[in-house]
């Protein structure tokens, strides 16, 4: 009984956990500008800095979801502006393929989102975060790899169907 009430409480207060991979040259700087401009956004996002959005291996995104997080954002420079000329194009292509894989595996592809944010777009980054948080919140918790209370990440899809 106690455990059930606890879970109900958790479900009511549930906030999505989102990890954002931001490229060091544009999106990370854009997120900094959001801060310098004192624009607020929800505290659901944790930021992981990478040199380029092209550095993001789809395995990172899958690992993030397997670790129990509810959503992933990958953000890079606008097309044509990549500091390394073409990394953001690589990211976009990989992302398109990953989207198909997620659908196939049974993860709602809307949990993984992609954006272009330049170093001058502090307000855009805040908008992107707001949208991602709202979208992922609407999808509910990441049940497929839901972490049991205080334990290790779920071993695989089979156990999530209990």
């Amino acid at each position: 009984m106690e455990a059930k009430r606890e879970t109900e409480e958790q479900e009511k207060n549930w906030e999505p956990k989102i990890l954002a991979f931001l490229c060091r040259w544009c999106s990370y700087a854009g997120a900094d500008l959001t801060g310098s401009s004192r624009i607020s956004y929800p505290a659901n996002v944790r930021i992981l800095r990478v040199p380029c959005s092209g550095r993001v291996n789809p395995l990172f995104i899958l690992k993030t979801l397997r670790s129990g997080m509810d959503g992933v954002l990958v953000s890079g420079c606008h097309p044509g502006d990549c500091h390394y000329t073409a990394g953001n194009y690589n990211a976009r292509r990989k992302f398109a393929i990953l989207s198909n894989l997620l659908q196939y595996v049974g993860i709602d592809p809307r949990r993984v989102q992609f954006s272009w944010v330049s170093a001058a777009e502090g307000d855009k980054f805040a908008k992107v975060v707001n949208n991602v948080v709202a979208d992922v919140k609407a999808l509910g918790p990441n049940e497929l790899f839901r972490l049991p209370q205080g334990g290790q990440p779920a071993p695989g899809p089979a156990s999530a169907h209990e």
């Binding site: 990890l19 291996n57 993030t64 390394y84």
Partner: protein
């Protein structure tokens, strides 16, 4: 086992107002490997940095995490701090709890919890950090400048002045470039040759510059600091060491050929120098028009040469040079006015382009400075200039503005009135782009002082009638059509990339845009550099440019070359990719992906004596973007400073927080 120090900054109240920094520092001391964790008001200040140094000493720390502002701001600061205490700077990580935490969240509990998680991410990463050391590769501190026009010469002079040897390659028989073809230059109306020739003499007399004219770059191999360049010295058929420049050969040569320098308006000989002030003042034989080479006859030049300098047996010579940096100064061509059949399409001899006008009005040109109609040699009394012929034209796939034409047309208008004071001068324009220093005043002079008639409108047709050229156009300000009976029409054609620009770009391994201009590293902040390390851009080959901007870009490119040459060795950022040959299958997916061509295949000798192919990342060229790492199917390539293991551990650290 790592010994980590965590330093949580208040940043005054910027962080402390929203994040409970004391609590955070306390919580972090419980983390695995953290020996000491404390907070401080201003971590980046001198006393703050001294605390870090003191703690490294006191607690024998081998990893440091600073939780403060954005690393984009202070990463270098704290890297230097730990370096000063003897710790490798890449063993320091920063957690951004200001710009990406305290400044964007209002709830104290949420912000504090997030700060803790962000620091845990940094801790997870720093535990996996390894010391990184900048790689030093030997470098050949010699520059190659391709193109002997004004920007190429300026670049060569600037680099040579600092003391580095420069090879200046020019494919024409003389240096000087386009500027040698001009009569006067805007906005000062300086005589072009008068300001150009002293520079040419400077180049010739500079001991650090080796000029190779009538030469072309054949191939470029290697990478920054270590280019292998092959240059073809075309056979002049004249021995440069013997020729005195007396000019007898040119006087006596019986062949007359259309002069490229005069754009077909005049003739030159088969043995020639392009213009009187040529550097070097040594002629070349145009073997395609020389009677000896085409028919086996003549040989007059050899007979009359007092220095016995003519050598018909000369052959092209290909030399190899080791080069550290290359400056591309290959310049521009002009578009074909015959693109516009409505302007005659080349049928009318008296419709010429701007450069032909320059040659005509130049005292050492084909008409000795007199404006003459090419058709009958008469002096024109009514001259019509048309701007934007070929530029700003989407239909031709040339939407850009050529930048110089408004100015040189105004100059031509002024020069016409100076030569023929009673001439009627009309200029058809769309806009007037006179943005440079004293440029607007110059155009105003053409209109107000010299009486040039500026008509805002385009010309729809030019046709001949009774020996005159009828120019039919619009005057949009008067809202009427106009027809002018002109004696001569001058078209301001577009500045275009050289016909072999793509070949040159591919040889150098540099990108070019849809207009075949070479692409700069960044349109705003790096206009003279290139994504390909060691290649620099100057002059009109990068974009339409006038003389002042060409000279400025040349000096800009030179300082970049000199900065590269400032150290004896090439010191590269250590956050580069690295191949583990044991895992690599030589699929070369990484090679195709790398925007900098930093990955090469090499033959390596094994201990048993056999050779084996291996992929290697050239540290000096790799920019550390990680595109290769994200695509390697074998996991054979890794990015130092952002390895898969580091990133996975950051992700995992968040999992255990939920």
């Amino acid at each position: 086992m790592a010994r980590i120090g965590v330093f949580v900054c208040h940043c005054g109240t910027n962080i402390a107002r929203t994040v409970d920094v004391k609590y955070v520092a306390e919580e972090m001391s419980k983390e695995k490997g953290v020996i000491i964790s404390r907070d401080y008001k201003y971590m980046c200040s001198d006393p703050g940095q001294n605390i870090i140094k003191e703690y490294i000493r006191l607690y024998k720390l081998d990893r440091v995490v600073v939780a403060s502002c954005s690393p984009l701001l202070h990463e270098r600061t704290f890297q230097n701090t730990v370096k000063e205490e003897g710790l490798n700077p890449y063993l320091m990580e920063m957690a951004n709890i200001r710009e990406q935490c305290s400044w964007v969240h209002k709830d104290r509990a949420e912000a504090t919890l997030k700060a803790i998680e962000l620091i845990k991410m940094s801790l997870a990463k720093v535990r996996m950090n390894e010391p990184l050391f900048p790689k030093r590769t030997p470098m050949e501190r010699k520059a190659l400048v391709i193109g002997g026009g004004i920007s190429g010469m300026q670049a060569a002079l600037d680099i040579a002045m600092v003391g580095h040897p420069v090879i200046l390659v020019e494919r024409a028989p003389s240096i000087g470039g386009r500027m040698a073809q001009f009569d006067k230059t805007f906005p000062t109306l300086d005589c072009a040759a008068c300001i150009l020739t002293p520079k040419m003499v400077d180049v010739r007399s500079n001991p650090n510059i080796r000029i190779l004219t009538y030469s072309e770059v054949e191939s470029v191999e290697g990478y920054v600091g270590n280019f292998e360049v092959k240059i073809r010295k075309k056979a002049r058929s004249v021995d440069m060491s013997k020729c005195t420049g007396c000019g007898e050969c040119m006087q006596k040569c019986p062949s007359r050929v259309d002069s490229e320098f005069d754009l077909g308006l005049g003739k030159r000989k088969a043995i020639y120098i392009p213009f009187p002030q040529a550097v070097p003042n040594v002629p070349v034989i145009d073997r395609t028009h020389c009677r000896f080479f085409t028919q086996g006859k003549c040989k007059v030049c050899q007979k009359v040469c007092p220095a016995e300098a003519i050598n018909y047996e000369q052959t092209d010579e290909i030399i190899s040079e080791k080069i550290g940096a290359i400056v591309a100064a290959t310049g521009f061509d002009l578009s074909d006015p015959n693109d516009y059949s409505e302007y005659g399409g080349g049928r009318y001899k008296d419709v010429i382009n701007g450069l032909q006008f320059e040659r005509m009005i130049n005292a050492s040109g084909p008409t000795e400075g007199h404006l003459k109609r090419p058709s009958d040699g008469k002096e024109p009394k009514t001259i019509v200039f048309i701007q934007c012929v070929g530029s700003r034209d989407e239909n031709l796939g040339r939407p850009y503005c050529s930048k110089m034409c408004c100015m040189y047309t105004a100059k031509h208008a002024i020069l016409t009135k100076e030569h023929i004071p009673d001439a009627q001068v009309y200029v058809f324009y769309i806009d007037i782009r006179a943005a440079g220093k004293n440029y607007e005043e110059f155009v105003r002079r053409a209109i107000e002082q010299y009486g040039a008639n500026y008509l805002r409108g385009r010309v729809s047709r030019i046709f001949e009638k009774n020996g005159k050229l009828i120019v039919r156009g619009a005057d949009t300000l008067l809202r009427s059509q106009v027809e002018i009976e002109a004696d001569m029409v001058v078209l301001a054609t577009a500045l275009v990339a050289r016909s072999d620009a793509v070949k040159v770009a591919q040889m150098l391994g540099i990108p070019y845009d849809q207009n075949r201009f070479f692409t700069e590293m960044h349109p705003k902040l790096a206009p003279v550099e290139n994504v390909t390390a060691g290649i620099y851009l100057t002059g009109a080959c990068q974009a339409p440019k006038d003389i002042p901007d060409s000279v400025a870009s040349a000096s800009g490119a030179s300082v970049k070359v000199c900065a590269l040459f400032a150290n004896e060795e090439l010191i590269s950022d250590p956050m580069t990719a690295q191949v583990n040959p044991a895992l690599c299958s030589l699929c070369k997916t990484c090679v195709d992906l790398c925007p900098f061509s930093a990955i090469v295949e090499e033959e390596v000798k094994r201990p048993d004596g056999r050779t084996q192919k291996q992929m290697r990342v050239i540290d000096g060229v790799c920019h550390g973007c990680g595109a290769c790492v994200a695509s390697c199917r074998s996991g054979a390539i890794t990015l130092k400073g952002y390895t898969d293991q580091q990133i996975f551990s950051e992700i995992e650290s968040l999992a255990s927080s939920f």
